[in-house]
Symmetry: C2
């Protein structure tokens, strides 16, 4: 009697294991589940690398486009030539410096992203990336938003504060700075995706 019961239990357990439905106690993950989660995390890490390269390219474009924005008007007086360049407005200088820092950070973070592809279960590089991505996101957003506020003012002016629009004269300059701001916000959108992706890769797979 004793022996037959034991044999029965053995068979029942084998049947469960064959179906792959062995009850997991206390969130233990078996090697098979771990391999599956590894594949999912590796997919996220590859997508992370692609987004990171795109964001670095967008940040580089924003920096170069704003850094080369200048225009000299074809008419001049005896004492003064009308000229606009990005460093006439401190906000645009901040934009160039901020986006250059973000671009440099994104380029330097590519090796860490590659480490995450090679070792999808490593937590430390992933946590490092999400923290610095958040800081880069804040810097890129503040640079882009401040530059956008100035571009809007240059286009529309403000009659209440008696600030006149300068884009009627400096059309090329305004177009180029507007383009830079769009590139800046593209970087911001890509960085948001990067943070969300890292959060998804960090989550547990029980």
């Amino acid at each position: 009697m004793e022996k037959s019961e034991s044999a029965k239990i053995d068979i029942a357990e084998t049947g469960r294991e064959r179906k792959g439905k062995a009850p997991l106690l206390g969130g233990r993950s078996g090697p098979a589940e771990r391999a599956k989660a590894g594949g999912y995390k590796r997919g996220i890490a590859i997508f992370d690398l692609i987004l990171r390269v795109s964001a670095a390219a967008a940040a580089l474009g924003a920096t170069v486009s704003m850094g080369t924005a200048e225009q000299t008007l074809p008419f001049f007086t005896q004492f003064f030539q009308f000229q606009a360049s990005y460093d006439d407005l401190p906000t645009f200088s901040f934009f160039v410096i901020g986006m250059a820092i973000v671009c440099a950070y994104l380029a330097l973070s590519i090796p860490f992203s590659i480490v995450c592809i090679a070792r999808p279960h490593a937590v430390a590089p992933r946590l490092l990336l999400i923290i610095f991505d958040t800081l880069a996101l804040t810097l890129a957003t503040s640079a882009s938003a401040a530059a956008a506020a100035m571009v809007y003012l240059a286009h529309q002016g403000n009659s209440n504060a008696n600030w006149l629009a300068i884009c009627q004269q400096f059309t090329d300059f305004c177009q180029k700075t507007s383009g830079s701001v769009i590139a800046g916000f593209t970087t911001v959108a890509l960085l948001i995706f990067l943070v969300v992706l890292s959060a998804m890769a960090l989550r547990k797979h029980y």
Copy 2:
């Protein structure tokens, strides 16, 4: 000979287990480790709640301070009275709307933060919080940075674009808007901490 070797191995294993250094295969976590990780995560969740309430208070302060910023100068001409209010500058209106949205989101997210305290191992509310916190961070940063650019311009003016500083006349208005911008950046700093904390709580404990 065979028997003595087996006995030796048994003793060695027991010694390891007594020291609490039993080798864990495949990242399996026992109930004791899980409970320890739960305490760590609960601590993070409580800190998250405190930061969240502070951030909501800072956002509310920024909104109200900017929304009530107006000043009427004591002198006037026959046709015009000099008056400044936040909605004279579209950027300040954006700041008020953006910070109000962030404040409302933070207030509404408090129940989710409490769920994370009650169930420290739950992944879904934590992931939801980190995604929307990132979006709130972006909104708060862009509103604050744009308003900061305008406050800077109101204080300093810009001789290249022929925009005059208005803060020599509207001193009280400028002080109040500057205070709002500082409250806005306080919200941004608290939101950065919230995102980093959520990332730390999401990470695995093998």
